[in-house]
């Protein structure tokens, strides 16, 4: 059963090579009658029978006219994809369980393309009109099922416009990918995690989460929404977050090997702490397998750590 899709994939690879932008042309568009089209043909057959049996020339003429409309509709349906260009947009990294959102841009170099639908069959297609000589941007969301790179594979572009009796489609590979971080799971870090024995103070603070409230600072991307100071916001002071500072001591080291449990739950726990510590502006280090990320702070550091967690144990490091 797996052989057929494999052959199809290989054939598609040759015919529609992957790339960040793909223009649909005659080699890349396929066309077939839809179920509605088949019933249209059956209706035409019945009309032809009526024309024959009643020897009615007008009934013949109407049957032939609608048959010709069917043929003309092949050209129109096909044309409604021909020349359309699809470009990959970026995708933001998400945590496992959230909807991944991948952007695709559709560009028309000439005419208007009506009712083009784009998406993956299992998650539903989105219907858009691409204006003449213009672009339109689509956000395609997908459920995330496991961490790492989410590569949804070939994108289906189809159109039944104008009559719905034919469907023209193409499978394009825009090499879309979204990074999926592990699902953050709150929990306690073990007492001794990567900290020197003598600095017990810091570890207690980390484990319990009781921190010194230090004041307010402006909100910046990556800060937890739970720390927003709504009262200040309502007073018109802008978005402020409550800032906490960990107790003095060495920067904590989040060490994968020190944790118990299966791989995924360990990653989830680390993920939670990466997010948590980053939101507190507290420097931390991460050690996972052979990689050690030195203690640092900031969005970049946070993302690097999360990426390392997401890709732990996975072969391919980065998509094209």
């Amino acid at each position: 059963m797996r052989v057929l899709p494999r052959i199809r994939d290989r054939w598609l690879l040759k015919r529609i090579p992957p790339g960040p932008s793909v223009r649909l042309n005659q080699r890349r568009i396929f066309i077939m009658p839809t179920a509605v089209g088949m019933s249209f043909l059956v209706a035409l057959l019945l009309m032809l029978l009526a024309a024959i049996n009643y020897e009615n020339s007008l009934a013949y003429a109407l049957t032939f006219l609608l048959g010709s409309v069917f043929v003309v509709a092949i050209l129109h349906t096909w044309r409604n994809l021909a020349g359309l260009e699809l470009q990959a947009g970026g995708a933001e990294a998400v945590f496992l369980g959230e909807q991944a959102c991948l952007r695709v841009r559709l560009e028309s170099r000439g005419r208007l393309y009506q009712a083009v639908s784009v998406g993956w069959p299992k998650s539903g297609l989105q219907l858009v009109d691409v204006p003449a000589a213009g672009t339109c941007e689509l956000q395609l969301s997908l459920p995330t099922e496991r961490r790492g790179w989410l590569r949804p594979g070939r994108l289906r572009v189809e159109s039944r416009f104008p009559l719905g009796i034919l469907v023209a489609w193409s499978w394009v590979d825009l090499q879309l990918a979204a990074l999926v971080y592990p699902r953050p799971l709150a929990g306690d870090l073990p007492q001794a995690v990567g900290l020197d024995e003598e600095s017990g103070e810091g570890s207690r603070a980390l484990g319990s989460g009781i921190d010194d409230y230090q004041g307010l600072r402006p909100w910046q991307p990556g800060d937890s929404k739970r720390r927003l100071h709504w009262k200040a916001y309502s007073r018109g002071q802008g978005l402020l977050v409550k800032d906490f500072t960990a107790l003095s001591g060495e920067d904590p080291l989040l060490d994968f090997d020190e944790l118990a449990g299966d791989i995924e739950s360990r990653l989830s726990l680390l993920c939670h702490w990466v997010v948590e510590l980053s939101s507190r502006q507290q420097p931390f280090a991460l050690r996972i397998a052979d990689t050690t990320i030195e203690a640092a702070v900031g969005v970049e550091h946070r993302n690097r750590c999360l990426r390392a967690l997401a890709l732990f144990g996975q072969e391919s490091a980065a998509p094209q």
Binding site: S21, E55, V71, V72, H76, S117, L127, R160, Q175, S316
Partner: protein, 673 residues
């Protein structure tokens, strides 16, 4: 994109418009309650769309369907048959409007609409009806398009324009199919619509019926002659003969309907013509004496009338050849002559006495006939559509008391007297004359041209036709009924609406003739484009045709048209007009075949360098081409296309002839796909 999606506004608008347009031509033969049903359903539907009314519950739907079925049963007397079927179809078409929720339901409605248009052709397939039906078809197509459009921001007019252009683009292919698609005979017999208004001659006739007919200006048939149109007084179109007389009515004899070809020999010059007759609901065809028709199932019957097994229930075109001077049955058998001498046992004593007198006075049948004709000519007989009432003996009353009447009175009375004096005679019913259409050189014969005349039999000369009406009102024969009845114009039914009334106004008359001629062309070329007619036309166009040749021709012309349309729509010549870029694309394709695909965003130089490493054997040629391209493209140097072409050629020669596609370098790992 499933078809279960809700119906977009645009689709619904056009669906409603299409429904009105589809139902309109059906109104002529639909019961009135259908209109009420439609109004109710349309309002309900709009309210559903505005979210002011719910969809009907299933028991209401069932109730409405049952109600419609009952309505059809009571107004049509049953649920079977074409007429009831059409009402049911329209009722379903209307009820589906309220019931439809999804796009799929709406498509069912559209298909029902197409069927309803086809059924409307069974009731009326005239030129106007044909042109009109383009309107519902465009609206139905617009509805189909509207159903596919994305719900936001679409307007009804562009949708309509697209539907119209689809239809226009389909017309050439439709014409090819219409001309070349082989026509078959009916595969099985189907009920025909009943209420096609048929007026015309009947199997039997009393004077009153004929007067009724003379008031109708409905068309009976049109005839075009290959040669010049014969004079009016030659145009006696025979339909049927009346051989039996019961004292009041003249009727057809069953024996005369036997398909025995009577004995006759052609004489004189033949007249060739073709006729398109309107549906008459009778099996007989019209022709000048003596006619031969070369359509398969048409026969000359024993009394010289033409008939076919089935009634003529749709316009019929046939070719005929007549020999007006033919000698007919010079040696008729006793059975035929016996039928032509039968009279009721009693009644009309004065006429019988006069017949006996005539027989004594004249030696030959011819002389008797002459005497009768001059009697009508010399006595004060008059021609009128309002004859005075006569008593029990209608022949006596007319001949001796009232002295006025029209063709059937004269023909009937003359036949009666001839029979009474021992001369075999019968009444011939048909049409006389016709109106010449100057714009088409053909004749239109109407119901008011219905006429009756006499033929009598004489040994040696066979059957001879005479027209007693001519003796009384020669203008009836020479110029037509309306001229003859100037004073009784108002008797002609619908004369006010009829443009014929205004024939003194020159341009209006021209308009009428032009329109009539258009209709006639429509009937001859479109409606009758069936079976033998098609074969005849095709043979005229392409010489000898067989089904294989036709099929090939159809596929070839169809394909040609589709290719032309594809070129027109897709404009492939616009794809890449930049010659340099075209060369570079050729370069790209060539290298891609050898395993080096240009990556997105990779410039010409980088690409060439990478390719040169990958294909060291052709490195020089690759660099040469890339250099030329860069120069032409970016250094603003004058383009030398030929040089680029030559460079590409030498590269092609350098590379192995059959490329083995290996995994593209710097490409993608296929496992991810």
């Amino acid at each position: 994109m499933s078809s279960l999606q809700p119906i977009p506004r645009n689709g619904l608008v056009w669906l409603l418009v299409a429904q009105v347009l589809v139902i309109l031509p059906h109104l002529a033969h639909l019961p009135l309650w259908i209109i009420g049903l439609w109004l109710g359903c349309a309002i309900w539907r709009v309210q559903i769309f505005r979210m002011r009314a719910p969809y009907p519950r299933s028991w209401i739907k069932a109730l409405m369907m049952l109600g419609a079925a009952f309505g059809v049963y009571f107004s049509r007397g049953g649920l079977i048959g074409l007429d009831a079927g059409v009402v049911l179809l329209i009722a379903a078409f209307i009820l589906k409007l309220v019931e439809m929720r999804s796009r799929r339901d709406a498509l069912v409605l559209v298909f029902l609409g197409f069927f309803a248009v086809v059924t409307s052709y069974l009731f009326n397939d005239g030129l106007l009806a044909g042109i009109y039906s383009l309107a519902p078809i465009i609206a139905l197509l617009a509805a189909m398009i509207g159903l596919q459009q994305s719900p936001a921001g679409t307007h009804p007019w562009p949708t309509l324009r697209l539907a119209g252009s689809l239809l226009l683009q389909a017309i050439p292919l439709m014409l090819v199919l219409f001309v070349l698609f082989p026509r078959l005979g009916p595969l099985w017999s189907l009920p025909q619509p009943k209420d096609r208004g048929v007026t015309g001659l009947a199997d039997s006739m009393s004077p009153g019926d004929m007067a009724e007919l003379s008031r109708s200006s409905a068309l009976a048939f049109r005839a075009s002659f290959e040669g010049p149109i014969p004079d009016r007084d030659q145009l006696y179109w025979r339909a049927v003969t009346f051989e039996r007389f019961d004292g009041r009515r003249w009727s057809q004899s069953f024996k005369s309907q036997l398909p025995q070809t009577p004995e006759w020999s052609p004489r004189g010059a033949p007249v060739a013509y073709s006729i398109v007759m309107q549906p008459s609901g009778r099996p007989w065809l019209y022709g000048l004496d003596v006619a031969q028709v070369d359509a398969g199932d048409v026969r000359l019957m024993s009394d010289f009338h033409l008939a076919r097994p089935r009634p003529v229930d749709k316009p019929l075109l046939y070719q005929a050849t007549s020999w007006p001077e033919a000698l007919r049955e010079p040696n008729a058998g006793p059975a035929v002559l016996g039928r032509a001498l039968e009279l009721p046992a009693t009644g009309n004593l004065r006429s019988r006495a006069w017949a006996a007198e005539l027989r004594r006075a004249h030696q030959t049948p011819k002389a008797t006939v002459q005497a009768l004709l001059s009697h009508f000519n010399q006595q004060p007989y008059s021609y009128t559509l309002r004859p005075s009432p006569v008593g029990e003996d209608i022949v006596d009353g007319f001949l001796f008391d009232t002295l006025n009447g029209f063709c059937i009175h004269y023909a009937g009375a003359m036949t009666f007297v001839l029979r009474a004096s021992g001369i075999p005679a019968r009444v011939v019913a048909g049409y006389q004359g016709g109106e010449v259409n100057p714009s088409g050189n053909y004749l239109s014969v109407r119901q008011l041209d219905a006429h009756a005349w006499v033929e009598y039999w004489e040994a040696g000369s066979g059957w001879v036709s005479v027209d007693p009406t001519f003796q009384v009102a020669p203008e009836r024969i020479e110029r037509g009924l309306e001229e003859a009845l100037d004073a009784e114009q108002d008797l002609i039914e619908g004369a006010i609406m009829d443009l014929r009334r205004y024939r003194d106004i020159g341009w209006l008359n021209d308009l009428r003739f032009g329109w009539d001629s258009l209709n006639y062309g429509w009937q001859r070329w479109v409606l009758n484009y069936q079976g033998e007619r098609q074969l005849e036309v095709l043979q005229g166009l392409f010489g000898k045709v067989d089904s294989r040749k036709l099929g090939l021709l159809m596929v070839a012309t169809g394909a040609l048209l589709v290719v032309l349309l594809a070129l027109l729509l897709l404009k492939p010549w616009r794809r890449e007009q930049d010659a340099q870029l075209r060369q570079f694309q050729g370069f790209e394709r060539l290298l891609a075949r050898h395993g080096v695909a240009r990556q997105a965003g990779e410039g010409a130089r980088d690409f060439a360098q990478r390719a040169a490493v990958w294909l060291p054997g052709a490195a020089a040629q690759i660099q040469a081409f890339a250099g030329l391209y860069e120069q032409a493209r970016y250094a603003g140097q004058p383009t030398d296309l030929a040089e680029m072409k030559a460079a590409l050629r030498s590269l092609r020669r350098q590379l192995p002839w059959r490329a083995t596609v290996s995994k593209p370098r710097g490409g993608i790992d296929g496992d991810n796909l």
